[in-house]
């Protein structure tokens, strides 16, 4: 690393980014995004939480009411002509000319790119189609594509050329479980190739596994962001112990006796915050005290649990 190459410079950086719509509604409220180079950043939040508006501002489609955006170290939208060729984007679903074939649509986008060589167009279009598994449907009219195929074509457009940054807004929308798995694999592959990927989703479970970092949006605000492990660890692990119903009270007293907090009967099990108690001690203590141990599970909080804790509401609650 040399002094004039600031490798630590984030791929996406916003400061106080705000969008107030003409209606007066604040769509995005002073968010400071920080997406490190090489990260797979899960941009999470329910529908209507401001993710898409944020992505539109990152790309210069929508001008911010306040705040600033830097993509790959350059200020947007001023640096758009220089920076955007290095950025692949899927914004609020795919959109193409319905009466053109998938291939013709990609050719059109490539022809619009001043930095793409017409000499390699056919090859790159073919490669992008192959990468998303659309080669067989390349000549079919976009109008006749299924929702999943449209989504794939959108991804192909984002991959028409090598990119340093990909902004993928809801890339798994409309895909079946197999397609969703393929998108996850693609995101991993892109990240392994050195690209930074920002993936937004309102379905936590779909992308949680591939993210190195997460940012959680709710009602226009960025509630938390950072390494996924750190965000998820914010919630202490819990132990769930199962026994027969008549012994649950007894079990709760045993767990409290071990020094655990937040002990409660939660349906079929007794749950407690593990704290500093070692898991193996729990089983010993429960059995040693004459409680019939039917099951024991340590639960680390999922991102969804974190989200519920941060917002006090379910994840799928739209504004």
């Amino acid at each position: 690393m040399t002094a004039d190459v600031p490798a630590a410079e984030p791929a996406v950086r916003t400061r106080g980014l705000t969008k107030r719509f003409r209606s007066g509604q604040v769509g995005v409220d002073a968010i400071d995004l920080h997406v490190p180079r090489g990260a797979v950043y899960g941009f999470l939040g329910p529908n209507g939480s401001g993710k898409t508006t944020t992505i539109r501002m990152l790309l210069g489609l929508v001008s911010p009411t306040a705040g600033s955006v830097e993509l790959l170290g350059a200020p947007m939208p001023q640096a758009g002509p220089a920076v955007l060729p290095r950025v692949g984007a899927l914004v609020e679903g795919p959109a193409f000319h319905p009466y053109l074939s998938g291939e013709a649509n990609l050719r059109r986008l490539d022809a619009a790119d001043a930095t793409a060589s017409p000499a390699t167009r056919a090859r790159r279009v073919g490669a992008a189609l192959e990468r998303v598994g659309l080669t067989a449907a390349a000549g079919k009219k976009y109008r006749q594509y299924s929702l999943g195929m449209k989504q794939r074509l959108g991804l192909a457009a984002a991959l028409l050329r090598p990119r340093d940054l990909l902004l993928l807004d809801e890339p798994t929308n409309g895909l079946d479980p197999q397609g969703t798995r393929e998108v996850r694999a693609l995101v991993r592959e892109l990240a392994d190739g050195g690209a930074t990927v920002l993936v937004s989703s309102h379905l936590l479970s779909e992308i949680e596994q591939v993210c190195s970092h997460v940012g959680i949006m709710s009602q226009g605000r960025l509630l938390a962001q950072g390494r996924r492990a750190e965000i998820a660890d914010d919630g202490a692990p819990e132990v769930h112990v199962a026994t027969r119903s008549d012994q649950r009270g007894h079990l709760a007293r045993v767990l409290t006796g071990l020094g655990m907090t937040d002990v409660r009967v939660d349906g079929e099990v007794v749950a407690a915050s593990l704290g500093s108690v070692a898991v193996e001690k729990v089983a010993q203590a429960v059995v040693g005290d004459g409680v019939d141990l039917l099951g024991l599970e340590v639960r680390r909080p999922t991102l969804e649990d974190v989200f519920v804790r941060l917002t006090g509401e379910g994840f799928d609650v739209a504004r």
Partner: protein, 288 residues
């Protein structure tokens, strides 16, 4: 495969080159679209229809009856071009121009393709210019289609010969052809103002039909106002006022000032609505 395998140009193409590349793609889009081809075919059918009717009925209209130039068609097929243009100018030509220019930005916005063009990235000014050129090219093709089909049909039905001018003087056919080219060029230039209006209205909405319809309305209202003698003070500045001045080409001494007045009005409309379209399109949030 890895990302590094796909080679791309190292440096961006020069702006003029990039614009030309995009324009080619845009022209393919506009002229490849079935709707636009059907409209062109419809326009081209007008001289064919007029010629066929005159040929079958063998009935030469009396001078002053029907649209201008109609009475001369059976005498000289060249006049079918002018008669067809006069028939198309009040409505059909503005309709076709409105559809394509109104669709220019609003169509892309409505389909959502606008956001993907802009993040490619295509600079907004370049995109607007390319859209304007493509719409203008379509207007040119529309006028040319009428003229070519008119000439061919006129020649086939009635033959062509030396052209008798409005003054009664006769000029050779070759010069008549040059003047016909002048007519075509003037009519195309007359449509530039409407293209600019359509382009501006197209930047205001994501619903292409709304932009198309309001552009047609502008042309029609202009024609209505032009017909009200009480408004004669504003007539010279109206979008459509000078459209039929192309007859000037059929006088022995062409009065350039009449033609230039028409062109100046178009230039003014282009300047005003081009500027409005530019200021709107380069600053608007793209939320479609």
């Amino acid at each position: 495969m890895s990302l590094a395998e796909a080679p791309v140009a190292e440096t961006p193409a020069a702006p003029a080159r990039a614009t030309a590349r995009l324009l080619r793609s845009e022209l393919r889009l506009v002229f490849g679209r079935v709707r636009n081809i059907v409209l062109l075919a419809g326009l081209a059918a007008v001289p064919l229809l007029i010629g066929t009717v005159l040929f079958i009925t063998q009935d030469t209209p009396v001078a002053g009856q029907g649209p201008p130039f109609l009475d001369r068609v059976t005498g000289n097929g060249v006049f079918l071009v002018f008669a067809a243009l006069v028939s198309c100018l009040p409505f059909l030509l503005p309709l076709c121009v409105s559809i394509v220019s109104g669709d220019a930005i609003a169509g892309e916005a409505g389909a959502g393709t606008l956001r993907y063009l802009l993040v490619v990235p295509v600079p907004r000014t370049r995109l607007l210019l390319v859209k304007a050129f493509a719409a203008l090219a379509y207007a040119g093709a529309a006028v040319a289609a009428i003229a070519v089909v008119g000439l061919v049909a006129g020649a086939a039905f009635f033959g062509v010969g030396d052209v008798v001018l409005l003054s009664g003087d006769t000029i050779p056919l070759a010069e008549g052809m040059v003047r016909t080219l002048g007519v075509v060029a003037y009519v195309i230039a007359s449509l530039t103002g409407l293209v600019a209006v359509g382009l501006f209205l197209s930047t205001l909405t994501e619903v292409p039909v709304a932009a198309m319809a309001s552009t047609v309305v502008v042309a029609i209202v202009s024609g209505v106002l032009d017909a009200l003698p009480q408004l004669s003070a504003i007539h010279p500045g109206l979008l459509t006022h000078h459209w039929l001045d192309f007859g000037e080409f059929l006088r022995l001494e062409i009065d350039a000032s009449t033609l230039l007045a028409g062109l100046a009005v178009q230039a003014a409309w282009v300047a005003i609505f081009g500027a409005l379209a530019w200021s709107r399109f380069t600053t608007a949030d793209v939320s479609s």
